[in-house]
Symmetry: C2
Subunit: 310 residues, 2 copies
């Protein structure tokens, strides 16, 4: 196995690209994939302040590293989810890497700052922990970015993540989610721009990137996500990719090129109709946003009497 | 396990409907699913002459049986594909069932009547045998229906088939195929209407239907289709259905309700632009239709010199 670029000994092959790379050129390959994603979807402009949502996993640490190396002013935001040892370790990996990188890391601790942990939220709402986790992240990444003056939030969603989400959306033909699924969500009143610069890299590539760059990361999957649908969709896509390399990328990029626009109209319409949360002011289709509703459910805040009826 | 209708002993459960049925009410369930499909998509009008494409397998024999029992004037068309013993047996099952049913069966033998068998076509074209088979069926079902004065061709595609085709189309975001994927393709100049009355029944149901009704059918899969993508997509969907019963139906019917129309415009446009095959007169986007091109490739017909250039 020889490096596609320099013909030296390769350390990794990327079947989707029918290529193998030595360490140096694999890192270059990852940089190039991020650069292409950023440019082709106009994710970031020079001089913008980027807030990277870092979890301590391979994807977000690789993303932060690459963005800084590509010259972006990118700082980190770590959310302490309160999922026992898993969260403790994830925080440690994140802080150690921030120091290694020499960039500021902001931290929000759900338990201390919002009044609940993910396990507590899951217990109280009797819903999937992933639902409470997702809405907490969406709310806090956005509100911290606004408070601290960042132009854009970058998340580490990779090709495998996005393809799996797309498969779930397509299996249900959830037209609203299909309209909103895009590597760039433009800024709208109350929302900063959200971008996913890793959409052109698979998770095997981000893991290899971290290993080769000496970045220590949380290798465990979140214990609360075990057995969820998203992981099932990933397995399904891995089986298809095994049989026919490139099918994941063809699925995701085919959607972005030929499918997405057919669903985008309704999503824009929905965004135009958002009002402000009566408690925190965040954009919401209702009177109280999902984050404040969750906080009131767990007893962290008391909703004004006139809002409780809803 | 008790029958949902009469509370007697059930012989089969249908997890998707969270129901079980005795023999009598399972047959009624199958009838009702066909009736619902026919009515909701306006597939057939009373008094129309229906040509059922029968292969000797469970789906097409069940379809023929149900349509006749529901009062439709439905005759059969069997295509001899020339796939050795598999085709010989399939023909025998079909003829025996036609006699049992007491309805006319038309037959076309690809080898004798069109000048090639499927294995020969696959060898000459060096393409997938399924491609040559599909185009031969599409051409001949349509042309025989027109010649013999049938209003509509009914095929035995079931829920599993259609969901697997949809998954393939979506994985590639093949917008043309997505626009044409529908349980009813209306008649257009040169084409009779095509309908798929089994879209609401899974293949486990059509198999059980045949067993319970004493219909002998070809149980072997086509030996030339082994390992093809379509079967891979079926496996993937079966895994998802196992985890979450009803997901196949949600996928297909969600598409028909909320997805299909977004892709239909281009497909209609394509159909409007078809001309006539210079050899046989069938509708085609080119000068010579795919069927005549295949026949010329296998040496069954000689194309006029001026057409060979293309």
């Amino acid at each position: 196995m020889k490096c596609r670029v320099c013909k030296g000994a390769a350390v990794i092959d990327v079947r989707r690209h029918n290529a193998a790379f030595c360490k140096e050129h694999f890192v270059h390959h990852c940089d190039e994939q991020v650069r292409r994603a950023v440019h082709s979807h106009r994710m970031l402009e020079p001089g913008e302040r980027v807030l990277v949502a870092v979890s301590g996993g391979k994807d977000s640490l690789a993303l932060w590293d690459i963005l800084v190396r590509l010259g972006y002013e990118a700082d980190g935001l770590y959310l302490g989810l309160g999922i026992g040892e898993y969260s403790d370790e994830s925080g440690d990996y994140t802080r150690a890497f921030a120091q290694q990188l020499g960039r500021p890391l902001h931290e929000v601790d759900l338990g201390a700052d919002a009044g609940y942990t993910i396990p507590e939220a899951a217990a109280v709402t009797r819903r999937s922990p992933c639902g409470a986790c997702g809405l907490s992240k969406r709310h806090l990444f956005n509100s911290v970015a606004i408070e601290r003056g960042y132009d854009v939030v970058a998340t580490g969603h990779n090709l495998d993540d996005e393809a799996a989400v797309l498969l779930g959306n397509v299996l249900r033909w959830d037209t609203g989610y299909l309209g909103r699924q895009h590597p760039v969500l433009p800024a709208t009143p109350g929302f900063v721009r959200k971008v996913k610069p890793l959409v052109r890299l698979g998770e095997r590539e981000t893991a290899a990137y971290c290993v080769l760059q000496g970045i220590d990361y949380q290798v465990e999957e979140c214990p609360m996500a075990a057995g969820n649908r998203h992981l099932g969709y990933k397995e399904v896509l891995n089986a298809l990719e095994d049989r026919s390399p490139g099918s994941k990328a063809a699925f995701l990029f085919g959607f972005l090129e030929r499918g997405h626009e057919r669903f985008a109209g309704e999503a824009e319409h929905e965004r135009d109709e958002l009002g402000e949360c009566s408690v925190c002011g965040a954009p919401t289709p209702g009177t109280v946003c999902a984050f404040c509703r969750l906080r009131s459910q767990v007893g962290a805040i008391e909703l004004p009497v006139e809002l409780k009826v809803r």
